[in-house]
């Protein structure tokens, strides 16, 4: 496989940043469209955390790489296959249950990931992870509480929540599959092997689903490709919007 950077540590951090960038973009699409004003604030908060994490991951990646690129280059000036986020985070917002199910899965994955990354041999990365884990712990609780309300709310909300889980579950396996890059950074003590996180994920998610009276979907073979730069059709549309000003005005300084 080809890495997104010659430095495996940088390539791996970029992957984390790509993940939060794309999910953060999806969150900002909710703005002024949430079911309540309180939830508009909450979703903006999730988006802010994700964009903040993106900046930290990208910036540290650029430093490790040698400083030739910066966060704007990474976020705004690359092509689709250069982004290495798992497919989960580029899936459309759908309805509120779809978004909350997606976020439950993301936060259930990212929280133990960041918690272990807090022991990275790179002190900078460890610090970013510590801070980020605190944020996603809150995300996990927020998404979990909503899944419980929706799952144990009305018949309609139960049905939508279950359909959301069923639709998104094929994107779960990719999150926990270690590839060469994952193994390389884990072996060096810099990063985390995602295959070690599955038990934590299951514990957190199982607890929510039980309280939500929702059925855990059977484990599918799953869809994968994003971590290797092979995306769904959605990412191109996200980038067209995200990158527009930088692409149209390459000489501008904002």
């Amino acid at each position: 496989m080809s890495f997104a950077s010659c430095d495996p540590r940088a390539a791996w951090l970029m992957r984390l940043g790509d993940t939060t960038l794309v999910l953060g973009h999806r969150m900002t699409e909710w703005l002024s469209r949430a079911p309540t004003l309180e939830e508009d604030i909450a979703l903006a908060n999730l988006g802010l955390d994700l964009i903040g994490q993106t900046r930290l991951f990208y910036t540290r990646a650029c430093e490790l790489e040698g400083g030739a690129r910066d966060e704007t280059d990474l976020a705004y000036r690359r092509a689709e296959p250069d982004y290495r986020n798992p497919l989960l985070v580029e899936q459309p917002n759908g309805n509120f249950a779809d978004t909350m199910a997606r976020h439950l899965i993301f936060a259930g994955f990212a929280t133990p990931l960041y918690q272990r990354l807090a022991a990275s041999c790179d002190a900078e990365t460890a610090g970013i992870a510590t801070r980020s884990a605190r944020e996603t712990t809150y995300h996990l609780r927020h998404a979990g509480e909503w899944m419980i309300r929706l799952g144990d709310g009305t018949d309609e909300s139960h049905e939508r929540a279950q359909a959301a889980l069923d639709d998104l579950w094929p994107y779960v396996p990719e999150l926990f599959e270690a590839d060469d890059l994952d193994r390389a950074v884990a072996a060096s003590g810099f990063g985390v092997d995602p295959s070690t996180l599955r038990d934590d994920f299951d514990a957190a998610v199982d607890d929510v689903l039980a309280r939500a009276r929702l059925a855990k979907p059977a484990e599918p073979r799953g869809q994968r490709g994003g971590k290797a730069g092979r995306h769904s059709e959605h990412l191109g549309h996200i980038l067209a919007e995200l990158q527009y000003l930088q692409r149209a005005y390459p000489d501008a300084r904002w």
Binding site: L21, H25, T28, E29, L31, S32, R33, A34, P35, T36, L37, E38, E39, D40, I41, A44, N45, G47, L48, I51, G52, T54, R55, Y58, E71, T72, A75, Y76, N95, F96, A97, I148, R149, L150, D152, G153, T154, E156, S157, R160, E241, L242, Y244, L245, Q246, Y249, D251, A252, R253, W254
Partner: protein, 311 residues
């Protein structure tokens, strides 16, 4: 009448009126109208800026914009709460917004057409809002005054941030400077209209002054805003789109040309560039979120039931 005199005496003594205190029905009505309009403005005001969040040109600008819009939603919440202390429900007020019966600041019926608009809104719109709102921090109604202290603090941060965006745009490429000038051209008149009609045509004013809901006249606040803003525009190298604008050496104030009050009335009356779009967006969000709110209510009812059974 005795109560009214006592009430006025408290006002005159700069005492705060609190929710459980007696107040004239008209005082209550005026406050409900003004506070809820302000709350609606915050909520609708999320849209013109929300239009650029997915396209913000850097991650820092994206986070800044997102945080600002989040603050606006928060202001909406505070203000609805302040209005609720006067015995109305947020749902009822919200319904007035969605049905088109309630007003909101007409500035939000103008579209945001380039990224410099994010600067212009902070600099001009929030700037004008602060001029209007700082006196409200001393408003006679306690909950409103306290909400406004918080709101004004955040707004003045937004205002400085907006000006900083304008500075960046004006120091940028020729295209960026053109965007900045274009933004100023489109937002100048609507901004100075935010202070409302000339004092000679202003309804509601006299009583509001007497009750210390309002402390300065529309024209006075407008003059203050223009005096503060014109030099800033000049220092940005931008031209205020008013050929009649001139500095009056005698008064020490800037004097503006005629304001198009017909346009003001039209936009306020529902016929601005984005009135339909803004309400349609808000209504669609409400309709699409209905099943979620119902689910939350059903869940809460079940929990209450379970707790009662357990008790």
């Amino acid at each position: 009448p005795d109560r009214l005199a006592a009430f006025q005496a408290r006002i005159d003594a700069e005492e705060k009126i609190e929710p459980n205190d007696w107040m004239p029905a008209q005082y209550r009505r005026t406050l409900v109208r003004q506070i809820s309009q302000h709350a609606h403005s915050e909520v609708i005001g999320m849209q013109p800026e929300g239009n650029w969040v997915t396209r913000a040109p850097t991650l820092a600008r994206k986070a800044q914009l997102l945080a600002k819009i989040q603050d606006e939603a928060g202001h909406g919440l505070y203000l609805y709460s302040a209005a609720e202390t006067l015995g109305v429900t947020r749902e009822a007020l919200y319904d007035q917004l969605l049905s088109g019966r309630a007003k909101y600041s007409s500035i939000f019926n103008y579209p945001t057409l380039n990224y410099a608009d994010m600067g212009a809104i902070g600099w001009l719109v929030d700037g004008a809002a602060i001029m209007n709102q700082i006196p409200l921090c001393r408003c006679s109604y306690g909950p409103y005054a306290r909400a406004m202290i918080l709101v004004c603090k955040e707004e003045s941060f937004h205002q400085r941030q907006g000006y900083a965006i304008m500075v960046a745009m004006c120091r940028g490429s020729a295209e960026q400077r053109a965007m900045a000038q274009d933004a100023l051209n489109r937002f100048w008149q609507p901004s100075i209209m935010m202070f409302g009609p000339h004092d000679s045509n202003s309804t509601h004013s006299e009583l509001s002054m007497k009750w210390k809901i309002k402390r300065f006249t529309n024209d006075g606040l407008r003059r203050k805003f223009i005096d503060a803003t014109v030099p800033q525009a000049h220092s940005l190298g931008l031209t205020i789109p008013d050929p009649d604008l001139r500095f009056n050496e005698a008064t020490g104030h800037w004097e503006h040309g005629a304001i198009d009050w017909d346009e003001f009335a039209r936009v306020l009356g529902g016929d601005g560039p984005c009135n339909r779009q803004r309400l349609k967006h808000r209504r669609a969000a409400e309709a699409e979120g209905a099943w979620v709110r119902e689910a939350a209510a059903a869940y809460a009812a079940k929990r209450r039931g379970a707790n009662e059974r357990a008790a």
